[in-house]
Amino acid sequence: MRTTRKPWLTATVGMAGLALIATGCSSGSADDDGASTGGGGEDGGSDEQITLTVATFNEFGYEDLITEYMELNPNITVEQKKAATADEARDNLNTRLAAGSGLSDVEALEVDWLAELLQYSDNFNDLSDPEIEGRWLDWKTEAATTADGKLIGYGTDVGPEAICYRADLFEEAGLPTDREEVATLLEGDWENYFSVGEDFVASSDSAWFDSAGATYQAMINQVENAYEEDDATVIGIDHATVKDIYDDVLDASVDRELSAHLGQWSDDWNAAFQNGAFATMACPGWMLGIIEGNAAGVEGWDIADVFPNGGGNWGGSYLTVPTHTEHPEEAMALAQWLTAPEQQVKAFEAKGTFPSQVEALESDELLSMTDEFFNEAPTGQILANRADAVTATPFKGPNYFAIHQTVADALTRVDVDQTDDAASSWEKALTAYNELGLG
């Protein structure tokens, strides 16, 4: 008797306990519902206050624009969440997409990992709108459009690359300092850039460029199909195109001692801008703002209208509106406003993020823009020229980022950490690549 009743009682109490927890949960979710219906109400009554969050990384140049937007729309508060690096932003975005919560209303994407998210386009709102058709360069929009014609992101900037250099260090080493003479000096292929570097290093304490990784990035961005074919078939890293660039970069960095051995975005890298550790760097438009921030107070930075091996594009971003947002319409309006030509010209003025909008590229305002920090260089005109010089549009498929990371790590091992030589580090890269299980 007792033994039969005991479990029954326990079970009852257990059920009661569960019920308690369940009601606890359900009351919680009821609260959530209340909050979200409140949000829905706000959509109707436009006077109610709503808050939109915008997640960006590095420097988008949006600070003043956001203030302006809030003045134009008094009922909307916009908060910007800035990640220090694009990698960090990607981690945040992936984690929150997987969790299905915590995403910002507007999320910025980098072109290198756009394709991998395009596979899960269900998580993003379709932003296509007849009013803004033809606003961007065609390839910029195409990259963010799914096979069935859904546009998941508005283009912000592109990254046409020039060479940024320290005129004062050039002078000390007996090289020309004028930006046109420097452009002539560096005109040519990568070998020319490296051999000028050898001359520089011979008569200077500074290194020629900041890091092997950044230089590799600049070179691989001139290759149409580095890791994947146009139909996204994986080629991988074990082929001559990638291996040759890898060897060239490490030969220049280590054997010819051109690199400052800094990992890009590391604390050392940030600090090195202050002590003149290197004289040149590959310089996409958005890098101008970063140099200006890191090298604040340093005089002598300039920018030359030249890039080894022709033109190159490094990065460039998009603004998306995840389906998770409670205010899809307001978020879309904000993203549309931020990526309008007028606003992107202002962002360029603030942080050098070079616009991807056709109208902005033609505007006199952009072309006549100069940058005080870079010795009054006509950055608008220079970057427009650099954008024209871009011939290759590298294909960046869903696995681009993951594959690229294996080579980037290999370069860091040799150039920065010096735990391996080029050959053994390459073996490790192959192992890491095989672990991805793509081949």
Partner: protein, 341 residues
């Protein structure tokens, strides 16, 4: 009350033909029922009181554990979700990967470098705080201060201090003529740097636990020791440390669990948070994170690592348990010995 009232009137209706069992039986039954209730109350209530914990544990502990096991035998993509069942393939992939072994090596190395000096330092600090100091509360609170700082903030500050070229620690070492240490390149150096963050945060906390235990040691033991002519140092090693044994075990166990799960500090140690280009400071939890959220986005493999880590912690826990039992019994021997004096 309305339920019990009819029960009370039942004996009066005993003559009714529809109720064959005789009255004495019934009152027996009532008595039995009462006894049963009483016994059930005594026996069951304790379980009921602790039941909420186990229910919550079942929801937030047991279920995730089981679900992780379920995920670990599937192809499971971070965003794409559940794929095919693959049996133990994820476990095989993980165990065969050299990266997993590196991660284990790093985890244990960081764990040893952090917990051993931490316990020794904490006992020493506690011994100092146990002495006659002015402004006792001030010193005690001061020791706890690093614990208040968020681990991520600690990691951010320390990773700047430990920067290879521009870091303060290397420039300090430079002033006394020591070559800069490559904190982010050399595996052992990176472990020391990360362990120092852990030690910074936890030493004071553990010192306070030791201090509390020290103050519970009967003072007559020290008096006896003084009469026997023991020096301060001798008192510390022959009275204080043996009496602290159970506390030491507690601190070691919590440090073990925390140490094997270390994540924040290595994650924040460089700009990418992937444990270094050559996996110099990739810990098991960081490896788990990288598998699930990094390039591979494979929740299946990440779940397999989680289970392997769980099994490792259980093994270490069993070892700890064995040691605890041995030391706890010897500590009792010490107490009896002390009492006999």
């Amino acid at each position: 009350m309305s339920v019990t009232a009819p029960v009370g009137t039942e004996p009066e209706q005993s003559g009714s033909p529809t109720e064959p069992p005789p009255p004495p039986d019934r009152s027996d039954r009532r008595q039995n029922l009462r006894n049963l209730r009483g016994k059930l109350d005594v026996r069951l209530s304790p379980y009921l009181y602790i039941a909420p914990f186990f229910l919550v544990f079942a929801v937030v502990g047991l279920f995730p554990l089981a679900y992780t096991a379920y995920v670990s035998v599937h192809d499971w993509h971070l965003i794409g979700g559940q794929g095919e069942a693959v049996g133990l393939q994820n476990y095989i992939d993980v165990v065969q990967s050299p990266v997993f072994l590196q991660a284990l090596r790093n985890t244990f190395s960081i764990f040893l470098l952090s917990s051993v000096p931490q316990v020794l330092l904490a006992i020493t600090i506690a011994a100092v705080l146990d002495g006659n100091l002015r402004a006792k509360t001030f010193w005690r609170m001061g020791v706890l201060l690093p614990y208040v700082v968020a681990p991520v903030a600690v990691a951010l500050i320390f990773s700047r201090l430990f920067a290879d070229q521009a870091g303060m620690i290397n420039s300090l070492l430079g002033t006394i003529g020591i070559e800069p240490i490559r904190w982010h390149a050399d595996a052992l150096a990176s472990h020391v740097a990360i362990a120092s963050m852990v030690n910074f945060r936890w030493t004071g906390y553990n010192a306070l636990i030791f201090l509390a235990a020290m103050q519970a040691i009967p003072r007559d033991l020290y008096e006896a020791a003084v009469l026997d002519g023991a020096s301060r140092v001798r008192q510390f090693f022959s009275v204080t440390v043996p009496m602290l044994r159970p506390t030491i075990i507690f601190v070691v166990i919590t440090a073990t669990v925390g140490g094997l799960q270390i994540f924040d500090e290595p994650r924040m140690f460089d700009q990418f948070g992937r444990g270094g280009s050559d996996n110099q400071w990739l810990t098991t939890t960081l490896y788990l994170y990288d598998l699930g959220w990094g390039a591979q986005k494979s929740f299946g493999k990440a779940a397999a690592v989680a289970w392997l880590l769980f099994l490792i912690i259980i093994v270490i826990g069993l070892i700890n348990f064995a040691i605890t039992r041995r030391i706890a019994s010897s500590a009792q021997a010490v107490k009896k010995h002390g009492g006999a004096r």
